[in-house]
């Protein structure tokens, strides 16, 4: 029948198209196959840097490394599903972010039971849960609390004289563990130093942040230092300081990550420094680890990637590398 022939023809065409798009390299026995399960969507800029780190390490070592994005960012069920599916092919190693304290435990255990090593990168939701896996799985990423402490310490190097110090600790999402952890580190330092501080909900929208920080500065013109916790924080903080009429450097602004807007404020002098979790390393180092583990049976180790400081002294260097997706 004409129709039957037509449909068979269409099917064959689809088959042809499908097999032409054969993506996977033939898994040769000598090449390790690693997978990186992420919680990011494909257009996330941050993820692109991590991926570059992963790709560079893979090329260097001659292994296959595949990163999986989920089409709907935040859909943990989707990420879990990717993890489970990846296990079907029995990879040589798994790198994964763990954005939830419990959801991934079963599948991680399943991988370990199958003899597949697992490394956690970037987000470690197991921290503080006391689950046995917290000790077993190595973590390559930023130690949030400690990074806050280091940020505050470095910021204090710019304090002009030990006098009555006032600090604004801005929190984008009150209650969010990553924000509270980072702020916690800053607060620990501030309390040790003897500095008065206020915690403020600054919201996640840059315009909102700017207006709230500005309002605080107007109310407390004696403020010496402003902290923010998220990647979008430094630029609005710098702008707020400028709008409040301060000269560059009068108020110390410290925050996280190296978004282009933040770097530009550093160069203008309104943002003093940021601490960067160095996402490139979060992609690069786990691959190295897995390789060494598989090849020579080395044990695992944690890496705190989150101590990269960016300030006026290296702003240009950082900016250049950021454009190459290395920082």
């Amino acid at each position: 029948m004409k129709r039957l022939r037509f449909m068979v023809g269409l099917m064959c065409m689809m088959l042809l198209v499908g097999t032409m798009g054969n993506f996977a390299e033939a898994a040769s026995p000598e090449k390790y196959n690693f997978v990186f399960i992420t919680q990011w969507g494909p257009e996330t800029m941050f993820a692109a840097v991590v991926k570059k780190g992963m790709d560079d390490a893979a090329e260097m070592l001659g292994v296959n490394a595949q990163m999986f994005f989920i089409p709907k960012e935040g859909d943990l069920a989707g990420q879990l599903s990717h993890f489970e599916t990846a296990l079907v092919k029995k990879p040589d190693g798994v790198i994964t972010t763990i954005p939830h304290p419990t959801v991934f435990n079963k599948v991680i255990q399943k991988a370990l039971d199958q003899g597949i090593p697992v490394i956690c990168s970037n987000t470690n939701g197991l921290v503080g849960t006391g689950h046995p896996l917290e000790k077993t799985i190595p973590y390559v990423g930023q130690d949030l609390f400690y990074s806050g402490y280091v940020l505050a310490t470095k910021a204090s190097e710019h304090f002009s004289e030990p006098k009555e110090m006032r600090a604004l600790v801005g929190i984008e999402i009150p209650g969010a563990s990553w924000a509270e952890a980072r702020a916690g580190g800053q607060i620990k330092f501030l309390e040790e130093y003897g500095c008065t501080y206020d915690k403020l909900d600054i919201g996640t929208d840059m315009a909102v942040m700017e207006s709230r920080i500005l309002a605080y500065l107007k109310k407390h013109p004696e403020t010496n230092v402003v902290f923010t916790q998220g990647g979008a924080g430094p630029a609005p903080s710098g702008k707020a300081v400028r709008l409040a009429g301060y000269k560059p450097g009068e108020v110390i602004v410290a925050g996280y990550d190296i978004a282009p807007a933040s770097i530009s404020e550093i160069k203008k002098g309104y943002v003093t420094l940021t601490i960067d979790q160095q996402p490139y390393l979060q992609g690069f180092l786990p691959v190295i680890q897995l390789y060494l583990m598989k090849k020579y049976g080395f044990s695992t180790w944690d890496v705190d990637t989150g101590l990269g400081i960016a300030d006026k002294s290296n702003a240009d260097l950082v900016e250049g590398l950021a454009q190459k997706r290395i920082r």
Partner: protein, 322 residues
């Protein structure tokens, strides 16, 4: 009954286009990566298929009646959260689930009232309610998930307990599919659904209360979305505020791939199953094939366009065959 006759009957099936696409996709992914058809992988797919599939069936029924629901993703997340909140207040797990489901139905009813009484296109209404309910969820949970409770375990066994090689959710899905099919194809109400979606003026002229038919389907779609959400939450043992975010696109894509018409009045329950399976298979197959993450959207887009074209072509051919 000769082979020719049997073949003819199969080709005349409404869902034939979707079946062919499903078959092709399975073949393609198998060729790209043989573990695709391994028992472990099939098990995996069957575990997660009901969560999307139940929602797609509900939305397909609604689309047949001529309306849309984009808020299913938010109901998907909200229902389990209401469930766990009630449990935190001390209510028994089964009752909490029932009340949470009633709440889902209420959301569906609200969608119906806004769409039908205020005469706002359902696409717009549910776009709005989708955002409202997601916002409500963020407010309730302040961004953070509720921990799974021990008291919830009995319901967990009921919803997603393992039975041999599969989970109970697959069986519930099968039952929902069966019941939906019977109501759609063999009941008076089903006939009204096709009429109301296919030609609402004509349906009204024949005395059918189009508002009641549509409202019922709004409630069904929301109820099933909430149920699907419960199933996922209990499988993952997590009540996540971001659950189901963005799923409405997958749901509508699945429905359309399964043959539901965007204009209303056409669609099948089996088609909804095939559509949901296909969407899940694509994601799974691409991971196994080692495709870079960017491919998922491209692939789904291609399948969508192909299925629409295919269904159109088949309709014309069938026309001539009759």
């Amino acid at each position: 009954m000769g082979i020719r006759h049997l073949l003819r009957k199969i080709l005349l099936l409404k869902e034939i286009g979707s079946f062919v696409m499903l078959g092709t996709a399975i073949l393609v992914f198998y060729l790209l990566s043989p573990p695709f058809l391994s028992l472990a992988n099939i098990q995996l797919i069957l575990q997660i298929a009901p969560e999307l599939g139940i929602m797609v069936t509900g939305v397909t029924l609604l689309m047949i009646s001529g309306e849309f629901d984009l808020s299913v993703g938010s109901v998907f997340a909200l229902c389990p959260i209401i469930n766990i909140m009630l449990m935190n207040l001390g209510l028994n797990v089964y009752l909490s689930a029932i009340f949470a489901s009633i709440a889902s139905c209420g959301i569906g009813a609200l969608n119906a009232v806004i769409t039908l009484k205020l005469r706002i296109p359902s696409f717009i209404t549910t776009l709005g309610t989708m955002m409202i309910w997601r916002g409500v969820i963020m407010l309730i949970t302040a961004g953070w998930p509720f921990p799974f409770l021990e008291e919830a375990i009995p319901l967990q066994k009921l919803l997603v307990g393992e039975v041999g090689l599969i989970r109970l959710s697959l069986i519930w899905y099968g039952m929902i599919v069966l019941v939906s099919w019977i109501i759609l194809e063999r009941s008076r109400f089903g006939n009204w659904m096709f009429a109301v979606g296919g030609n609402p003026r004509a349906a009204k002229a024949r005395g059918i209360n189009t508002d009641v038919v549509k409202a019922t389907n709004f409630v069904i779609a929301s109820f099933l979305a909430g149920l699907a959400g419960l199933i996922q939450a209990y499988r993952l043992e997590a009540f996540m505020p971001l659950a189901g975010i963005g799923v409405e696109l997958d749901v509508i894509a699945s429905a359309v791939i399964g043959g539901a018409s965007l204009a209303g009045g056409a669609g099948t329950v089996i088609g909804s199953v095939i559509g949901a399976l296909l969407i899940r298979i694509i994601d799974n197959g691409l991971v196994l094939a080692g495709a870079p993450g960017y491919w998922f959207r491209i692939f789904v887009g291609i399948v969508l366009v192909v299925s629409l074209t295919f269904n159109r072509i088949i309709e014309t051919k069938v026309h001539k065959m009759r």
